[in-house]
């Protein structure tokens, strides 16, 4: 897809632990991946798997417990305030909750203009022009600039959030479940908008999602997370055609297909039980408590993420 083979973002052995009353919550435990310029990595997993924590740690909202985050050749973890401000111009984030992610006391114009104000990019008339331009870009009207967030629908609010992130012309965007709170029909609008922006501006995305359906359309590569670890990672064609990890298979099988005949015939893999608590997770392979192929070794050894075929990584003892 991209001629530039250099990774824009490289995450090496990232760890983020939270010290809570019940013990240590290993939200992200030794996660590594890289995203090439102009590409999209989809990061998928269920609630509590650490996908959002990964995103927030990369962007600097959390300090990593261990590991390295390298953006365009430079280490960006443990930045000073000025360093973070500089990094902010290049990397931005889109948030999940279209209701909580916009300040209810600010007009849409001021919300979108916030980045412009912070980095003192434009003032006065130019600033307003830029805000109008951004509203156009995400498919909203100019009149919307004077309105307040509560006057908009969920999809429109998410567009405002995208315009806010785009205002300072970043190269890299982390989209933290930008569509999971939206109706299916609106989800497609947002995914398409993000894809258009990517093509126009050559953006690089980390797209976080809780199921595998929409991710497929926007991602070049997909990584599946379970309890703080990546269990499978490959390109988005291979993952859907040939899922290897039992958890990925279950995730794929769980998404209902909008076709009653197919749906009635289909044999679903239904996972037993719930995701265990990330505080004191199961020993060895963390998925073993819900895995029908679990073996003795799964209890004793944590499988490492290894390449089983060209560019297809799996962390599972079935493939070692």
């Amino acid at each position: 897809m991209s001629s530039n083979d250099k990774a824009l973002l490289e995450v090496k052995n990232l760890k983020k632990y939270f010290y809570v009353s019940g013990g240590v919550l290993k939200a992200v435990d030794d996660v590594s991946f890289a995203i090439k310029k102009g590409q999209t990595l989809g990061l998928v997993g269920e609630s509590g798997c650490g996908k959002s924590t990964t995103g927030r740690t990369i962007i600097g909202l959390y300090e990593p417990t261990g590991g390295e985050i390298i953006f365009d050749g430079e280490k960006v973890n443990h930045l000073t305030y000025d360093g973070r401000k500089k990094f902010a111009r290049r990397a931005q984030m889109i948030f999940q909750d279209p209701y909580a992610s916009l300040n209810p006391r600010m007009t849409v114009g001021d919300i979108i203009g916030e980045g412009i104000d912070i980095h003192e990019l434009y003032t006065g008339k130019e600033r307003m022009e830029r805000i109008y331009e951004l509203l156009d870009m995400v498919g909203l009207n100019r009149e919307h600039a004077n309105r307040f967030p509560h006057e908009f629908s969920g999809g429109q609010r998410q567009r405002i959030g995208i315009a806010r992130a785009m205002a300072i012309e970043p190269e890299f965007i982390i989209a933290d479940e930008p569509i999971s709170a939206l109706d299916v029909s609106i989800q497609a609008q947002i995914v398409n908008l993000l894809m258009n922006l990517q093509q126009e501006k050559g953006l690089t995305y980390l797209f976080i999602a809780h199921d595998l359906s929409m991710v497929r359309h926007i991602s070049d590569n997909v990584a599946v997370m379970y309890l703080g670890m990546i269990v499978e990672m490959t390109n988005s064609v291979e993952l859907y055609a040939n899922p290897l990890h039992p958890y990925t298979q279950a995730l794929l099988s769980a998404v209902p297909i909008p076709d009653p005949k197919v749906e009635k015939k289909r044999e679903r893999i239904i996972l037993e039980g719930d995701v265990p608590s990330p505080i004191n997770p199961p020993s060895g392979c963390r998925f073993r408590t819900r895995c029908k192929y679990a073996m003795d070794i799964c209890k004793e050894q944590t499988p490492s993420l290894r390449e089983v075929s060209n560019g297809h990584f799996v962390a599972c003892h079935l493939f070692s």
Binding site: P104, N141, R147
Partner: protein, 305 residues
């Protein structure tokens, strides 16, 4: 009924502008809160009463040709009459003028103390809540200590050092009074700072000052206003109480508390003298409390529809 002709069935396609347009009238937070407050009859009545009270506190002392300190020993303890609308006290001072002079003092103390509490509490609580962790720990322990100091002892100590008077009373109230506001604001800020719009501002590179001023305080302003509204009557009552036991403003200055104190001395002979200060203290407190309740309902974003 529209006539159905073939040309009506010409394909014109969608109209995205129309589908995106917002048809509802725009309403800011304050407009909406004011609309809601207006619907609350009791709160509006309280507000009207408080405004009238404020006006009277300004013009009341000039409505009769006496000064609040003018004594007339020929006319002591007179009942209300055409010359002296509320009567006179044991030194022959006009009670109407003194009552409104008292309103001036009481309201000044109440509002100043509540505002100062508010400002200090908001800044302190905002910083403590925003930075959290160790900073929060230390700052909140200081609050706990202040909270533990017996209020009356502090007042008496201050009286000794600064001498009795308006400034002393206000200082005494503010030294301990702001901690309530600080706790309130800290709690709100702790909740708000995890909200995604605050995270978004951080991601954009906003400084802590900007986040506190643009995002956290504006979203806490509702509870802050409500809390200040409740603080005013509390301060008025405290002042009245201190004045009543002789620790308040000194004669010939009058506040509702000293008026009530003077009146109790002659209670058995002229019980009506107690009526005016007591009536105004209670109705003012009641009004502020009812208005506070109304504001709480009006400013609560959860009720917003």
């Amino acid at each position: 009924m529209i006539e159905l002709t073939r040309e009506k069935f010409e394909r014109v396609g969608p109209n995205i502008e129309e589908s995106q347009a917002i048809v509802r009238p725009s309403m800011t937070y304050w407009q909406d809160a004011w609309r809601r407050l207006k619907m609350n009859k009791v709160a509006m009545a309280s507000l009207v009463f408080l405004i009238l009270l404020g006006i009277m506190a300004i013009i009341g002392p000039y409505m009769l040709p006496y000064k609040y300190s003018d004594q007339n020993l020929m006319l002591t303890n007179r009942p209300p009459s055409a010359e002296h609308w509320f009567g006179t006290d044991y030194l022959g001072r006009d009670l109407f003028v003194r009552t409104w002079m008292g309103a001036r003092i009481s309201l000044t103390i109440g509002i100043t103390a509540a505002l100062l509490d508010g400002i200090i509490g908001v800044i302190y609580g905002g910083i403590s809540g925003y930075f959290g962790g160790q900073v929060d720990n230390v700052m909140m322990r200081i609050v706990d200590i202040l909270y533990g100091i017996p209020y009356l002892i502090l007042v008496i100590l201050l009286m000794l050092v600064m001498g009795p008077g308006l400034v002393t009373i206000i200082t005494a109230m503010v030294i301990t009074g702001w901690v309530g506001m600080a706790r309130l604001v800290r709690g709100q800020v702790l909740q708000l700072k995890e909200q995604e719009f605050v995270l978004a501002a951080k991601t954009l590179g906003a400084s802590p000052g900007r986040i506190i001023m643009k995002h956290l305080i504006p979203n806490t302003i509702g509870p802050i206003i409500v809390s200040i509204t409740f603080d005013v009557p509390a301060a008025i009552f405290t002042e009245a109480f201190l004045s009543y036991i002789g620790l308040g403003v000194q004669p010939p200055l009058a506040s509702w508390g000293t008026l009530a104190n003077d009146a109790t001395n002659v209670l058995l002979l002229y019980p009506y003298q107690l009526f005016f200060p007591a009536f105004f203290i209670s109705v003012t407190m009641l009004s502020f409390n009812l208005l506070g309740d109304g504001l709480r309902d009006a400013l609560d974003p959860r009720l917003r529809k």
